[in-house]
């Protein structure tokens, strides 16, 4: 009000210096100049008021939201404390219950949030309760007790008025799974004074009220203790209903006493509760109102200072806005801190639970000397599919553990605390389809309470069944290979030895039967050739298995190679053979590889085709390209491969019955070696039946680099 004085003084000084007509003229000029300005200022100011009011309402909503979060964090944190307690041996072990009363008293003394703490047995009798002798209070009729007993889940009760101090309380209750299999209930009633203080801190003073409603609409936090103590119901009030319905916002409400009130509302996450942040609208918008009223007066007094005034007003508005921002920032900080502090316990527990659940190993935790499962992650539960483990003992879950000595082992670890670890421990699990042996690497260790007394066992197991079976299979395969190698090597030796002994016997008798002698000599020659072929193949296999096979990488023209192999095969055919080897090729066909080894592939396939076509016939060798790969197809019309034996066709020492029956000699290693060479060149080999009967082998090899991009460039055959 002091600021416009100089302007007013000026306008009053004017007539004294310039006469009344001059003053009128000046006033007229001022009025003419000021009127539009005044109108403009009034409009912009009313706009400013609306903006400021919307801004304030929005800030109040933020405060309501922050208060709601703080409320949820407060309840969550205290619930986590109870849940943590409920897992300790003091509660789960009936033998430890004598000490529970002392423990509850201590917690109550340390944490003023707790009004009363109690622990009730299955029947609802308080085994311990703070401030009263044990077994004097019976709570079986209370809703939260019944609900925890029925669901086994934590419960937050609606608000109620405490009998002792007459203040509103809420009760938190969590199940205690006793080692005996019974379920107790650990409960605590929370006094809400601390929460109320904290919420008030969040909204700041300035006469703003924080009200918290439970899911039934009862007010249990209110600045007026009489309202909270009576658990006044706000059911039916639009803002309260909106908050309980999970909505966030603000509205103007006319209270019973006629007060126009600005109410911001927000739901409390997960609880079904609501928070209202309210203040009489007059007070809420007072600052803005005062400023606007003052501004209008000032404008009316002196339009000349409107510019200066609006600058001043802007400053005040921004100051106002700043104060609201500060309140929000403060609210956010407090809410965040509350959330962090109270979520810490809960967070740790959840983190551990998630870790255990998602760990790639089987983890279980048992309690007590009879090894009752309290935790078993999905991997662990896979050990006994379809069985419910939690709450059951080792023998109940795995009856087969008894006959396998597992129970004694677990008992010993429980009794001595000595960790037990095993490698590939066979454990026979009874399933619907009979006994299944599973192999486990496991570590069994004891977990103890703070005083070092055994609480239970921690089992971390890794199933190695697949690895053990694979190893056994590999060992069996190695055994089979050795057995077959020994058999096949001894066969020519047997013939050789026998032939030598037959000659010896003949000489011993002194009567040389020439045709027989010649036969024996022929046998010796044949068997030596057979043995060296076999030894050559075995050496190849052995080099392949140990990765010693020398391998070059150079461009190889398959067409040229195939033509040479076909020619060699034709030359080797006996005169009376009726085989017709036909070669068709798209040329050139260059791959990267070892020429000698690729030649071995072609020669093996070709000689097989000839050998296993004892009655002759056409043999087709087709070379081409398909899908960026070189293809080699060798098709005969011979004895073919019975369908049942096709799986083993490329395995070592595999000879088909058709091949054996046809009397063709073979080591059973040719196709195995062929497959290995093809695979080492990054290719594949497969078998199909030739239309009309016979065998067709198809080899695919990656084309050489130049081949794929410039098929016309290359070495001509």
């Amino acid at each position: 009000m002091a600021e416009p004085r100089p302007a007013a003084a000026d306008s009053e000084r004017e007539p004294s210096s310039g006469g009344p007509s001059h003053r009128t003229r000046v006033l007229g000029i001022l009025a003419l100049a000021g009127l539009p300005l005044l109108l403009l200022a009034a409009v912009s100011l009313s706009q400013g008021v609306a903006d400021v009011e919307a801004q304030i309402a929005e800030e109040r909503v933020d405060l309501a939201r922050a208060a709601a979060l703080a409320t949820a964090a407060f309840v969550d944190g205290n619930l986590a404390t109870l849940r943590g307690l409920a897992l300790t041996r003091s509660f789960t072990d009936p033998a430890a219950h004598a000490d529970v009363a002392r423990l509850l008293d201590r917690i109550r003394a340390e944490d003023p949030n707790w009004d009363v703490l109690g622990f009730a047995d299955r029947e609802g009798w308080n085994v311990a309760i703070t401030g009263l002798p044990p077994r004097t209070v019976h709570i079986a009729h209370l809703g939260f007790f019944q609900q925890v007993q029925a669901t086994g889940r934590p419960v937050v009760s609606p608000a109620f008025t405490g009998r002792v101090r007459g203040i509103p309380l809420i009760a938190l209750a969590v199940p205690v799974e006793l080692a005996s299999g019974e379920r107790g209930v650990l409960s605590g009633s929370l006094s809400l004074e601390r929460l109320q203080d904290e919420l008030q801190q969040i909204v700041g003073d300035h006469g703003i009220q924080v009200v918290v409603l439970d899911s039934e609409g009862q007010v249990f936090i209110h600045p007026d203790p009489a309202v909270a103590g009576a658990l006044t119901s706000l059911r039916g009030r639009a803002d309260a209903e909106a908050a309980l319905a999970g909505e966030t916002g603000s509205r103007r409400t006319v209270e019973v006493d006629g007060t126009d009130t600005l109410v911001a509302y927000a739901p409390v996450p997960k609880m079904g509760w609501g928070v209202l942040v309210q203040q009489p609208a007059a007070a809420a918008f007072d600052v803005a109102r005062q400023q606007v009223a003052a501004a209008l007066t000032l404008f009316a007094l002196a339009a000349a200072v409107a510019g200066w005034l609006s600058w001043h007003l802007g400053g005040r508005l921004s100051l106002l806005y700043q104060r609201q921002l500060d309140a929000r920032a403060r609210a956010e900080v407090v809410a965040r801190e509350l959330r962090v502090v109270s979520a810490e316990n809960e967070g740790h527990r959840r983190f551990l639970e998630e870790l255990i659940a998602s760990a790639p190993v089987a983890i279980a935790i048992t309690r007590g000397p009879e090894h009752r499962f309290v935790t078993a992650n999905p991997r662990y539960r896979e050990l006994k599919p379809g069985s419910e483990m939690l709450g059951k003992t080792l023998v109940e879950v795995f009856p087969e553990a008894e006959r396998q000595g597992t129970v004694e082992r677990w008992d010993r670890v429980y009794a001595t605390g000595e960790q037990l670890s095993t490698l590939d421990y066979p454990f026979a699990v009874d399933t619907d389809s009979g006994e299944v042996v599973r192999y486990l690497n496991f570590v069994l260790s004891r977990h103890e309470d703070a005083d070092g007394r055994p609480e239970g066992l921690l089992i971390v197991a890794m199933e190695t069944t697949a690895a053990v079976l694979a190893r056994q299979r590999a060992e069996r395969e190695k055994d089979d290979f050795l057995s077959m190698a020994s058999h096949d090597l001894k066969s020519p030796l047997t013939s050789l030895g026998l032939a030598a002994q037959m000659i010896d016997r003949m000489l011993g008798r002194g009567a040389v039967d020439r045709p027989r002698l010649e036969r024996h000599v022929a046998t010796i020659r044949e068997q030596v050739a057979r043995a060296s072929l076999l030894i050559g193949d075995l050496l190849d296999v052995s080099r392949m298995e140990t990765g010693q096979l020398e391998r070059r990488r150079e461009p190889v023209d398959l067409v040229k190679l195939a033509r040479a192999a076909v020619q060699r095969q034709r030359d080797a055919l006996p005169d009376d053979a009726t085989h017709e080897i036909v070669e068709t090729a798209e040329e050139p066909l260059v791959v990267e590889g070892d020429e000698a080894r690729l030649d071995q592939v072609l020669t093996n396939l070709l000689s097989n085709a000839v050998k296993y076509s004892p009655d002759g016939g056409r043999i087709d060798v087709r070379l081409g390209r398909d899908d960026g790969q070189a293809t080699i197809e060798v098709a005969d019309h011979g004895v073919g491969v019975p369908e049942a034996e096709r799986d083993r066709l490329f395995a070592p020492f595999s000879r088909t019955t058709a091949a054996v029956r046809s009397g063709v000699e073979g080591t059973g290693l040719g196709l195995y070696i062929t497959r290995r060479i093809v695979e080492e060149h990054g290719g594949t080999i497969g078998f199909t039946e030739t239309p009309g009967g016979g065998a067709t082998f198809l080899v695919r090899l990656p084309l050489g680099r130049g081949e794929v991009e410039h098929p016309e460039v290359g070495e001509a055959a």
């Binding site: 057995s483 001894k490 047997t494 026998l498 032939a499 002994q501």
Partner: protein, 123 residues
């Protein structure tokens, strides 16, 4: 020595089969030969041998299957079996087969003849 004793040689290697037959015949045995289990079973059906020289890895029907089928024949439990094989774990396989004796390949002819003779005498 082996007068009148019927020996069935079941062996897929032509040379070994022929030489064994020669040697046994020289010793006076009545020798029958077969190159696989099924053929051996047909021979046994026609004339039940006293002794069978049997290899296990045989085409068409292996030694194990032959033994089972033989036991199914009337009087099929009577022939003594001598396992003649290059396989590993011969003694174990011989007892599983219910063989009276076994000879490992490559074998000494005199030793083989001694085994046949011993088994025949015991019979």
């Amino acid at each position: 020595m082996g007068q009148g004793v019927r020996v069935l040689v079941v062996e897929d290697d032509l040379h070994v089969r022929r030489d064994l037959a020669d040697v046994l015949e020289e010793e006076g045995y009545l020798v029958d030969v077969a190159s696989h289990g099924l053929e051996a079973l047909e021979r046994a059906r026609r004339a039940l041998p006293d002794v069978v020289l049997l290899d296990l890895s045989l085409p068409v029907m292996d030694g194990w299957a032959f033994r089972r089928e033989l036991l199914g024949l009337e009087g099929g439990e009577r022939p003594r079996i001598i396992l003649v094989t290059a396989d590993l774990h011969t003694s174990e396989k011989a007892s599983r087969l219910g063989a009276s004796a076994y000879v490992q390949k490559p074998f000494d002819v005199d030793e083989l003849l001694a085994t046949v003779s011993a088994v025949t005498r015991a019979a």
